[in-house]
Symmetry: C2
Subunit: 300 residues, 2 copies
DNA sequence: TAAGGTTACGGCGATCGTAACGATC
DNA sequence: GATCGTTACGATCGCCGTAACCTTA
């Protein structure tokens, strides 16, 4: 048994058990991969993969159980490298942030700027995706930390830190009827609505708000992206329901925002990263920066 | 980085950082070990060991942190092998039990006999030692499970299953004054006492019983081993305080046993094994056998 | 016949063993 | 001088790459 065989199992996992693709990813020829897998299965004395003819089509039950240990080993191996690099120079490195559009645009700018001042040597990669994809990116080590509101609470392999709390707001063009008067669920339901896609940015709480009523929102457009929603609100398509902090008084002067905290339960944005994953010092500081920014938001 | 380098760090740990001894243990020459260590430290970019001249004298702070990950990897590697072997044939294998003399002689015989009937192909090794040493044997993989009363509750890396509860008993030769009349702490303290060594078989609870009194036992002999205690009790040296289940009505007809449950808090014997350590099916069944025997004991 | 996998074989490099040397008690 | 570790060098064995072959959609 050796580490490249362990690595191979991981790469196979991420490439649909396709030996040829795995070989490419590992920068060796396919025959080498084939042999290493044979050797490993031979050493263990039992096949790890189900085969259809020669083709690998999935894991055996033994293989599935062993993949848990493989994941542990790969994580620890990565940790060793990270810890050593961090020990030598904790001012340099790479930080992969996975987040949703709304967080990237309306929450992260301030903490990221502050972080950059302290750590000019850290290269920041930000990737936007759906909460489900974010979690997947954590698991496949394509992201170090995730910032989002939905889903992350449900994953047992993640450390989840509560970040800040926010409310939804309704946005509409100036002079829209909704810019005046009290807002109720009924009234809200009387307009065509533009809001987030399922599984994004507190959308679940919008559902919750209407759950025990016989009303339903007439959602004519759902987007992952606050700016898309605003764009179509500006075109007069209807009322947008967005995250409160995504209304920018300066940039959105042509829109009015109405607080919906009395109608829709508050949402909590969270920071998540893999359990057992060593985070370099600068990443730990970045998280602190996020929490500071969160506190500032919630004090306002 | 490769697995034999990781293995090397473990072996060094267990051999006082002595390269020559580590080389022996790994069945390669010392120069090879020296070079592998150099290569690994070079790859990480920072030394893992403190050196006095050329001699290794301990871990650096980086080294200490990395040893945690090394332990994880070694555990997972061992798990992979165990899981595979277990999957192929769960009726064969080796079971290392670490326990104290008292458990080995007075508790384990019945469950071990039953286990052997079901698993004649499993080779059983039993090693007797002090609770502290037992825990060490778990950590160094020299034992799979430990059965004892003291200490194991305090170690966070162990899974601890409560097994059975028992009380101390006083034993004395027939016709000894203690064979009649009520027993109090005062009366007990008036005899010379023979009991377990510190850190063995419920000794801590004997201490507890006298803690808030101004009395003290006159312990004239402390042994790890119940049979040693009995032997000297038979010679008339004094009163033995032993574990209740260590009094054998058939074998110990020349002694009287008096229950001390009203004087000394009850003790609980536990089963312990390493967290994250995969136990083969037969070991899991052995534990069940222990719990069955424990239940039988506590029902009597 | 294209895509995926296996088998055979030759070459290269990583790692080991031998051996001589250096340091420390 | 005994113990412990390093360095140099030759030898070996493991692993890769090339290439031909097998199998199935």
């Amino acid at each position: 048994m050796n580490l490249s065989q362990i690595e191979l199992l991981r790469v196979l996992q991420e490439n649909d058990f396709n030996l040829s693709r795995a070989a490419e990813k590992m920068h060796i020829v396919q025959s080498a991969v084939s042999r290493q897998l044979q050797l490993f299965e031979e050493e263990l004395g039992s096949p790890l993969y189900e085969r259809q003819g020669k083709k690998l089509i999935g894991l055996t039950s033994l293989g599935r159980r062993i993949m848990e240990e493989v994941a542990t080993i790969n994580m620890a191996k990565k940790n060793i490298q990270t810890i050593a690099a961090d020990y030598i120079d904790s001012s340099q490195g790479v930080l992969h942030i996975a987040t949703t559009h709304t967080q990237a645009k309306y929450f992260l700018p301030k903490p990221i700027l502050r972080f950059r001042e302290k750590y000019p040597g850290v290269r920041i990669y930000m990737v936007e995706a759906s909460p489900e994809q974010l979690i997947n990116k954590l698991h496949t080590h394509k992201a170090d930390i995730a910032v989002c509101t939905e889903k992350v609470g449900e994953d047992n392999d993640l450390v989840v830190k509560p970040c800040y709390e926010w409310h939804h707001a309704a946005v509409a063009p100036k002079n829209h009827p909704l810019s005046e008067g009290e807002i109720s669920l009924e009234r809200l339901a009387s307009f065509p609505i533009l809001t987030y896609s399922f599984g994004f940015t507190g959308r679940s709480n919008i559902e919750t708000a209407f759950k025990n009523t016989d009303m339903a929102l007439d959602i004519i457009l759902a987007a992952a992206d606050t700016d898309v929603i605003k764009t179509y609100v500006r075109l007069g398509m209807g009322v947008g329901i967005i995250a409160g902090m995504a209304y920018d008084p300066a940039m959105d002067q042509d829109l009015v925002a109405r607080d919906l905290s009395h109608l829709i339960p508050s949402s909590r944005t969270k920071i998540a990263y893999l359990k057992n994953n060593y985070l370099p010092l600068y990443t730990q500081h970045f998280i602190e920066e996020l929490l500071v920014a969160a506190k500032e938001l919630n004090l306002q």
